[in-house]
Symmetry: C2
Subunit: 367 residues, 2 copies
């Protein structure tokens, strides 16, 4: 499932017109965070002239420009659509910008549900100008129904789960993977959404898969990751209490069949974003994930990743301590305090499992 | 979402070649059960010459024939594909039969995931012969993400849920609807799968919807049903403990937001069919549905529909009594003992709700 167009070999202009911000343009923020050397400009006329870091705290030195014409001075090779609106449709006003990009011979990368490559007009134009329309969300054909095969892989499988959308399931997964690699572990991040796919170069956007095959898509990701790695960090999606996306979340849980989970949460959030549904307490939500995993393959939450972007340092420390007291589990904010505590928890889990397996093996040998 | 081709105005030949049976050819069985006056023949060379009722206990007088050529003597107007294999693909050997049917100017009705109407060869042939290829599973375009709108409808919404696939969620839903109508209630069945859609003439096959919009599809069904009816019986799908389809089940629960649920189960089944996953106890499974409903809209299971097709009368009675003792809820086998107990439970639920609302209203008036 490796994608043909690898963003890390491109010079990227990000289109975030009218909606550039930490939460408003998640794709833009993720690209700036993980491909800072590739992003040459962000397009947003409302913030033109400012530096990217003034708006989203990262990306110092990346200019925000008025329009694509202005971005062209930085010689981009690819235009990335930097937003992911609910429903995933292309804002109508952006069509002219895509035309302009293609005429300028830029590839276009999109995470929208509406696939650019299936738009006859855009596809014809792209072919005529010899550029690619890369729909990161487009799933492969012929995905299977899940069959619990993920349970049989040799790798340790960790799934990031969470209280809601946009609380840090992708970011925590990437940070845990990087920190684990820093310790010499053979870790791989397994992207399940368009943004993770864009920065990591492989994966399946499971929310774009027909629902009968969504768990099967998650299973495929784990099987593929386990071919070459002994520790898989699978990117979570949605939440079990999200009215729109809970089915995606449960499909991912039952398709990837993790050995353990990391629970992600934004401490300042108390209702599901864009809904009036109140979030249960953190211990209740953790218990719910464990209860839903149990009938097929038991798995426990072994650590918490808190997204404290809107809190002061003191508040973030307090939130971490409160979460640890409430749950008895290690907690951190991976952006502010690093992912070491979570990798410690993963290694402790692996050691405990190895010991349990050694005891079992000894029992069998003594029979 | 009313479908253009209404099967109840057709003369139907059912293709079930090599796999005609109660569980093996669910679509065929459903068509025979609910459109007995429309089904003119069943095609299965292995059972040719026998009567349909010899194989599936219903459909007396409907002949089983060797092939389509033999079926043509009964003047069919429509060929229905009578199986729904996992994965939903058209068995390769059946393509020639579809060609023959179209050449004979029969419409073709299919519930497969692989849409016949999108097969260029079949589509061209059908157009040339002026017949329709009806894909009952094909969802409408532009479905929304769910937004809890189903919570606001005036109708009472009852969802059939269950322990596994093929335990009777559709059949119980239809039987409760018919029995309720027999009592003069303004009940409507809301199909969420291809078989229900074929016999009832409207609905959306939610398992064929891209997973981000699956709950939204369930919501649309409830909103449409509530426009003209005061009691909706929504067809359930899958099971919360099904490794492949649990996400579909949860999307349906959180999209339709039922007021109450009917739990469907086959007492003789103790693992998920085609998997080695053991089923939790019935009270545990009921508690799980109620726990998953609670954070968004609390709903209780108010009755059980047991599928005792493989049990003797005495065993079926025993299973019903055991389930009632275990759960404290009314139970029945709707095929063997009728759906009255469940409609009683629905009416009792409605009365209790009305009383609770009246008390609330009085409290407000007294303020």
């Amino acid at each position: 499932m490796l994608k043909q167009l690898q963003p890390k070999s491109q010079r990227i202009a990000i289109l975030a017109e009218g909606s550039f911000g930490i939460l408003e343009s998640k794709t833009a923020t993720v690209l700036v965070r993980y491909l800072p050397e590739n992003v040459v400009a962000v397009i947003d006329s409302e913030n033109a002239g400012r530096d990217t870091s003034e708006i989203i705290e990262i990306g110092e030195g990346i200019p925000i420009v008025r329009d694509l014409a202005e971005a062209m001075q930085f010689d981009p090779t690819l235009l990335a659509i930097g937003i992911a609106p609910p429903g995933g449709e292309l804002p109508h006003a952006w069509r002219a910008i895509l035309h302009e990009a293609i005429h300028n011979r830029l590839h276009v990368m999109s995470g929208l549900h509406q696939f650019l490559s299936e738009d006859p007009e855009l596809a014809e134009l792209a072919a005529a100008h010899d550029v690619l329309l890369w729909d990161a969300r487009k799933p492969p054909a012929n995905l299977p129904v899940a069959t619990c095969k993920a349970d049989a892989v040799d790798a340790t499988v960790i799934l990031t789960v969470g209280s809601d959308c946009r609380v840090g399931k992708m970011l925590s997964g990437i940070e845990v993977t990087r920190t684990a690699r820093g310790r010499g572990l053979d870790a791989e991040f397994c992207p399940t959404g368009q943004n993770g796919i864009m920065v990591w170069g492989w994966g399946i956007a499971i929310d774009a898969v027909v629902s009968d095959f969504t768990a099967g898509a998650a299973e495929q990701i784990v099987l593929e990751g386990a071919q070459n790695h002994s520790l898989l960090i699978v990117e979570g999606q949605g939440s079990l209490v999200h009215p729109g996306y809970s089915g995606v979340t449960l499909s991912l849980l039952h398709g990837s069949l993790p050995d353990a989970m990391i629970f992600c949460h934004q401490p300042s959030r108390d209702t599901v974003a864009r809904y009036t549904v109140p979030l249960p307490s953190v211990p209740e939500m953790i218990a719910q994930y464990e209860a839903m995993a149990a009938p097929i393959k038991p798995a426990k939450v072994i650590g918490l990743a808190l997204n404290c972007f809107d809190l002061s340092d003191a508040e973030a420390h307090a939130a971490v301590h409160q979460a640890e007291a409430e749950t008895g589990l290690p907690a951190t904010d991976v952006v502010r305090f690093g992912a070491d505590k979570l990798v410690d928890a993963v290694q402790a889990f692996q050691k405990k499992n190895r010991n349990a397996n050694a005891v079992k093996l000894k029992e069998i040998q003594n029979l």
